[in-house]
């Protein structure tokens, strides 16, 4: 049991309110980085930080049932005006009926953000549905595969430090962009990533989330083909995230299931990057 005092030879412990500020994301990126360094050599302070994080997680878990429930009809009626039925259906198009009363916990981000960026890359591009068959492998050049992200990979570097909406061109010509960063209900981070491979005529999109102590893991990955001509309905099949997941609504559905909050502002994102996503 720690008693908060110094252990001889350990060096000065940090003030508890400073450690709390670190966990609460109140420090500047530089201050947060300094605390991360300090924690590496100070197990007592690390234990206190672990305590705070565990308490935050316990608190979130104890009260988060409403996040996974539809909006109660009485509250919806009070907001919309009695008898109003003008709200949009919850599903997002092909293959996604969904329960009628489910309202996404986060305001839906416009899918035009994603399509618009792809359009900007080439004169005329349309996304077309492809059926993903077989397991992805390193030989087909895909970067987004469901599972833990390799430590030294380009994807790991992008997840660790790339600000949202800043494209990064890799040596082989693929372009990575983080579309958004959110926090889940239990305090982990998720980042939506898009990778365009002009040579392979392919867009990969997916979501990677942090896990305690083990870094980033890709939880869901989709793939769409880029074509010069022709039209498509923008429908793509997904791997990961469980059976029945398919279609452009899969990413939103996954984030809703995680109880994801609003997209982080650039400032909040910079803080998270600076602290090594250890808030």
């Amino acid at each position: 049991m720690t008693n908060g005092g110094n252990t001889p030879g350990e060096g000065a412990a940090l003030d508890r309110s400073l450690l709390a500020a670190f966990v609460d994301g109140a420090l500047s990126p530089e201050e947060a980085a300094a605390v991360v360094m300090h924690l590496a050599d100070h197990p007592q302070d690390q234990a206190y930080v672990d305590d705070l994080i565990a308490a935050n997680e316990a608190l979130a878990a104890a009260f988060s049932d409403p996040l996974h429930e539809p909006v109660p009809e009485a509250i919806r009626a009070a907001i919309m005006g009695d008898g109003a039925t003008g709200d949009a259906p919850a599903g997002e198009g092909a293959g996604h009926p969904g329960p009628r009363h489910v309202i996404p916990f986060r305001p839906r981000r416009p899918s035009a953000v994603r399509i618009g960026w792809a359009l900007a890359l080439a004169a005329s591009v349309a996304a077309v549905a492809v059926l993903v068959t077989g397991r992805p492998g390193p030989s087909d050049g895909r970067l987004l595969t469901v599972g833990p992200v390799g430590d030294r990979s380009d994807l790991a570097r992008a997840l660790a430090g790339l600000p949202a909406l800043e494209p990064w061109t890799l040596a082989d010509g693929q372009q990575i962009m983080v579309l958004a960063t959110v926090r889940t209900a239990d305090g982990r981070y998720c980042r939506e990533v898009e990778i365009v491979d002009q040579a392979a005529a392919r867009i990969e999109t997916g979501i990677a989330c942090t896990r305690a102590d083990t870094g980033w893991t890709v939880d869901i990955a989709l793939q769409e083909a880029l074509q010069q001509d022709g039209e498509g309905d923008g429908f793509a099949t997904a791997s990961g995230a469980g059976p029945g997941s398919a279609g452009p609504g899969s990413l939103e559905q996954f984030l809703d299931q995680q109880g994801a909050g609003e997209v982080l502002s650039p400032e909040a994102e910079a803080l998270a990057v600076g602290s090594g996503w250890t808030r």
Binding site: M1, T2, R16, S17, A20, A21, D24, G25, A26, A47, D50, D51, L52, I53, A54, A55, N56, A58, L59, A60, A61, A62, F63, S64, D65, P66, L67, H68, E69, V71, P72, A74, I75, R76, A78, I79, M80, G81, A84, G86, D87, I103, P104, F105, R106, P107, R183, G187, G261, E262, A268
Partner: protein, 168 residues
Amino acid sequence: MADSFQHDLVALVPRLRRFALSLCGNRTDADDMVQAACEKALRNRAQFRDGTRMDSWMYRIIQTLWIDDRRRARTRGTAVDPELAALSDEGKAAALPGDRLMLVRVRSAMAALPEPQRAVLSLVAIEGLSYKEAAEVLDIPIGTVMSRLSRAREALLPQIGESGGRRQ
């Protein structure tokens, strides 16, 4: 015809229900509070400035309604969640499975916090607001946010921190 203000408000409801639940400890009162807050928001929507954070605005409305409720409740007693009541019966509590017991312990620990500390802890630790945002919602100085957080955690960590959670 509902406009974007109403749609945005509906989208916030799950988080508002979570915040209300952390304050008052039972589902029914929490949802009543959220509904009252939404009705108040609609009445006062002219005061909401587009482009500012609607969630902060709604957290503040809920918190002020709750404080008013608490003042009234002191004179006539409050509804207690049946799960929280189970804690007073050691036999019942002991019969709960481990993770269920932890949830009950957390809820009871929150309910035992003084209201000002509970509100700050909920906004920062559960809703994820910054110290500055919490200070604005509650209309208190940032230093007060930090000291209330510190006292709340001193009370809670022995019960629900990493070591506290593992204790049987």
